[in-house]
């Protein structure tokens, strides 16, 4: 059986070689081929002695066939013959047998031995392809093929690890920082391997000895690991399962990599080398090794950093063209527009709606890239209001800070979990832990329900103030309460036309409420686990939700099932935001990465790593080019979406940042946090003169300036109220909301 085991592990290694052709050259393949040849005779000799055991279990059969495939592909005909002979496989043991035996056993494997492609590397990647087998089977198959098979004496793991440690400490300074990146993933995988193979005491000893050496920002993960001492514990923990099967990405310069490779291959027991090949993806770049600070800035996520290719897709980050609206000619004097609706040039305060409208922005998506709802008359009226308000907007800047108006929720008993304002700041909605959704009117105008159907028949539909007449005066009140959810409401979002309100809750549903009747219209069921955040698209009709099941879903209000599923995160999605042009969605997650998804195709177009804690707030800049993110580590990171790079870091907060908002023209970024403060940062300066030369774009090296202090424009402390929502009115007044927490 040991021989078969050996072939299994070889299959693992070789299949992983296939998936990373760029990392290793031909030389490595040679080394492994040597091992194959050595393995086959050894397997031949041992199976010669116990031919009966050649009739192996279906899983082993699968692996043997996989190995055969691989050998055939690499034209190692001698090895093929030897293996086939010794393992007792008949000549035509390939396609039909594979599918047969797989059908008997785990059905998922059938799809795996995908012989049209004949590609054994598809073994691992195509495991995902077979959804026919129940999800329960999948882990078992993966266990067989890519699991932690016994790769060495468990008692020697400590020796291997300390060996590596010693080596890295003796290496040149410039390489040491890069090679130290290897420690954490290696430690976790070795520990999990020990646990998986039931070497509990060795695992514990290993953990105690080396967990203290890891970087401080992995502390939370290590704590979770310390609670995991048995194989059974691993079963229910989805995050760890994902960690186990996805590859931890490291970016190392070629020189450092050569050093490491040479060292590990010299040694007799290439234990660590095996693990590295199996579980790590090393993205090699040519150039200067990175410094410790650069590495620290980018690392911290659960799956390492982002591969370079992951951030290379073209992203259309420009804004959509505003439709031209004819303004009524009898407006006041200061609104004197020309007929086309474009503002006069002498109004510099206007946002860039009118200018450049003739030329197509090359970075903007086309108008019908994704279908968007057409503008109704009421929307056109809204737009006119918006333009009017925009003319009265205060221009913010270093010497002209916004005033902050704080809305404190009293007597919420720590139950306030979500807040949203309408775009024109006329309504506030609050989601509470007692599963209610409450809406308040900010203006003196009260909230009214629409009349009942009988009464609506009686009113005069042609009158000018029909919109007033449909409202039932008897129901006027300051606030309305809406019941319907069966769990705390964690996300809340108004529609841009102020007709609908969305709320997402721990009960797994997203509910659409009407703001005319203040009743629930639809409950969208899809997530079966708590939904942590939801948001309407800036044009209405679409909305996105993300939750505990690690996927974000894109819905349309008139479809009861999601239109797109954005899957790829390794842990829950805590924050979902639309891009201003509604073509992209950004999701922040507990796995400490931010991903930007394309609505049209559902693919992930950007991965941003660098936060050291779960991300709780995201904000797109109004011009669509930049993204700001805040997490539990108290830092705000700024990202350039076009290039896919980190461009700024704002340090200052001491606790989780729950809200981020750019001002209407993008000059100021406001951040609100659990440390009871609102901070204002100079966004204009942070994004000014960015050096995105070719080298930076190609390699992803970033040089962050440590100018947080200069960029901080002001800190405003509340008495004892964490700030959970921020909103700039159309005239650039900052509104903030939070629940008083004595």
């Amino acid at each position: 059986m040991a021989a078969v085991q050996g072939s299994m592990s070889d299959a693992d290694i070789k299949t992983d070689i296939k998936t990373e052709p760029s990392t290793d050259g031909f030389g490595n393949n040679n080394a492994n081929d040597g091992r194959v040849l050595s393995a086959s005779p050894s397997s031949g000799s041992s199976t010669g002695s116990n031919k009966q055991t050649a009739a192996v279990t279906p899983e082993d059969q699968q692996t043997l066939l996989a190995v055969l495939q691989f050998l055939k592909k690499n034209k190692l005909t001698e090895s093929v013959e030897i293996l086939r002979r010794e393992a007792g496989l008949p000549e035509n043991s390939l396609d039909p047998k594979a599918t047969e035996s797989a059908g008997a056993g785990s059905g998922g494997a059938a799809g795996i031995v995908d012989l049209e492609g004949g590609d054994v590397s598809s073994l691992l990647s195509r495991v995902t392809g077979s959804s026919s087998a129940g999800a329960q089977d999948q882990p078992d198959v993966r266990v067989v093929l890519s699991a932690y098979s016994q790769q060495g004496d468990p008692t020697l793991y400590e020796v291997y690890y300390s060996d590596l440690k010693k080596f890295i400490e003796t290496v040149l300074d410039c390489h040491r920082a890069e090679l130290s990146q290897v420690f954490y993933p290696l430690f976790v995988h070795m520990y999990l391997e020990l646990v998986y193979n039931n070497h509990e005491s060795e695992a514990k000893a290993f953990f105690e000895k080396f967990s203290g050496d890891q970087e401080c920002y992995y502390e939370d993960d290590l704590r979770v690991l310390s609670g995991l001492t048995k194989k059974e514990h691993m079963r229910g923990n989805e995050t760890l399962l994902d960690f186990r099967t996805s590859k931890f990405v490291l970016r190392i310069s070629r020189d450092s990599y050569q050093l490491l490779k040479r060292h590990l291959q010299e040694r007799q027991n290439n234990q660590i080398w095996n693990i590295i090949q199996e579980h790590l993806y090393i993205d090699i770049f040519d150039g200067m090794p990175r410094s410790k600070s650069q590495i620290d800035a980018m690392s911290g996520s659960l799956a390492g950093e982002a591969k370079r290719e992951a951030n290379k897709t073209k992203v259309y980050y420009g804004l959509l063209k505003e439709p031209e609206i004819e303004l009524p000619l009898d407006d006041e004097d200061e609104e004197a527009e020309n007929e086309e609706g474009k503002p006069k040039k002498k109004k510099p305060k206007k946002d860039s709606m009118g200018s450049k409208s003739k030329k197509q922005d090359p970075n903007a998506p086309s108008q019908n890239r994704i279908p968007l709802p057409e503008l109704k008359d009421s929307d056109k009226l809204d737009k006119i209001m918006y333009m009017k308000e925009a003319t009265k907007r205060i221009r913010l800047g270093l010497d002209n800070l916004p005033s902050v108006c704080f809305y404190t929720f009293l007597n919420a008993y720590q139950g306030l979990t979500a807040v949203d304002f309408t775009d024109d700041s006329s309504l506030i909605a609050g989601g509470f832990a007692d599963s209610t959704v409450r809406v308040w009117s900010v203006t003196p105008k009260k909230l009214r329900k629409v009349k009942s159907a009988a009464d609506l028949n009686l009113i005069d539909k042609e009158s000018d103030d029909v919109l007033e007449r449909i409202m039932d005066e008897k129901t006027a009140s300051e606030s309305k309460i809406m019941y319907g959810h069966s769990g705390p409401v964690y996300g809340i979002s108004f529609s841009p036309d102020r007709n609908y309100l969305l709320s997402s809750s721990e009960d797994g549903t997203v509910r659409l409420w009407s703001l005319l009747t203040f009743t629930c219209l639809v409950a969208y069921k899809g997530h079966n686990y708590p939904v942590w955040d939801t948001q309407f698209s800036p044009y209405g009709y679409y909305f996105v939700s993300g939750g505990h099941d690690r996927v974000a879903r894109l819905w349309a209000t008139d479809h009861y099932q999601p239109l797109r599923i954005f899957s790829g995160h390794l842990a829950d999605i805590t924050c979902t935001r639309f891009h201003p042009n509604s073509n992209y969605v950004a999701t922040g997650s507990s796995d400490r990465t931010i991903r930007v998804w394309d609505v049209l195709s559902g693919n992930c177009v950007r991965i941003f790593t660098g936060h050291k804690g779960p991300i709780h707030s995201l904000a797109f800049s109004p011009n669509g080019k930049f993204l700001a993110s805040g997490a539990t580590d108290g830092r705000v990171l700024l990202w350039d979406i076009g290039h896919g790079l980190m461009v700024g870091e704002l340090k200052g907060h001491t606790d989780t940042i729950y809200s981020l908002r750019f001002s209407r023209d993008g000059e100021i970024l406001a951040s609100g946090s659990m440390d009871n403060t609102v901070r204002l940062w100079d966004a204009m300066k942070a994004f000014d003169d960015l050096e995105t030369d070719d080298f930076t774009a190609a390699t992803g090296h970033i040089h962050l300036q440590d100018n947080s202090q200069e960029l901080l424009l002001g800190t405003y402390t509340t008495k004892s109220t964490p700030v959970i929502h921020l909103h700039f009115t159309r005239r650039n007044l900052l509104l903030a909301a939070g629940a008083f927490n004595p």
């Binding site: 995902t128 999948q138 310390s226 609670g227 279908p371 009988a454 219209l521 409950a523 609505v599």
Partner: protein, 235 residues
């Protein structure tokens, strides 16, 4: 002098567990809640394990039974989200379909009615018996005075709204401009008659001094009113 209050051992263990998991701030009641959960969970597991052991005709409960009990309980109560590869596959299939075009000018864009929560969540209760067969056993009809709206969907129609009106026969009650509704309650002895065929309630008007007045058929369903009114006019 009283002995210093010591925390019981299992609470101390719980405090230690919380500390190990990195939770430093918590209200004191949390420990009680965690201990309750622990107790409930462990008893459930052990009971399940006892069931499995007896099913396997074993006299003692052993580790295998416990393991099985834990596994079954975990699949039932503590489910975890689907694994990543499954989600990737589902997502791949879902994302292949193009985004649907948006029909213009369709009013509120909501899913088909059966997926919305906008349908009425009540049904009108019908009066059981045909009146002709149980003329003698009808109890005193209740009289309700008030404006009756013509929409059959308001829930108040279904409930007999009793308002105090003197029912002395002979009192001249003004009829003009008022509508009287009389609802005959179903005869109590024959409650087991066939289940309601969902006939809506019929209201018909009559007057206490016996004169026949206009009937008002408020609901749309047909009902033979002629006979019934004739019967009542004899009351």
């Amino acid at each position: 002098m009283s002995a210093p209050k010591t925390i019981p051992k299992d609470a101390q263990v719980m405090i230690q567990i919380l500390k190990d998991m990195g939770i430093t701030e918590y209200e004191p009641r949390v420990i009680n809640q965690m201990l309750e959960f622990t107790y409930r969970y462990v008893t459930t597991i052990i009971e399940d394990a006892k069931t499995y052991a007896s099913h396997a005709n074993k006299s003692n409960v052993d580790a295998d039974d416990i393991r099985l009990a834990i596994q079954c309980r975990m699949d039932q109560s503590f489910t975890s989200p689907p694994p990543r590869d499954f989600l990737l596959e589902v997502a791949r299939q879902k994302n292949q379909t193009p985004l649907p075009l948006i029909k213009p000018y369709t009013g509120p864009r909501l899913p088909p009615d059966r997926y919305c929560l906008t349908a009425p969540n009540y049904r009108l209760k019908s009066i059981q018996k045909k009146v002709s067969s149980s003329a003698g056993r009808i109890s005193v009809p209740r009289l309700s005075v008030g404006a009756v709206t013509s929409r059959p969907t308001t829930p108040t129609l279904g409930t007999p709204s009793v308002q105090s009106v003197t029912t002395k026969v002979g009192t001249p009650v003004s009829l003009t401009g008022q509508r009287f509704t009389v609802q005959i309650p179903p005869p109590s002895q024959t409650t087991t008659t066939k289940p309601s065929k969902n006939r809506p309630v019929l209201f018909f008007a009559s007057c206490f001094d016996g004169t026949r007045v206009r009937r008002k058929n408020i609901c749309e369903k047909h009902f033979n009113v002629e006979e019934t009114v004739k019967k009542f006019s004899t009351n």
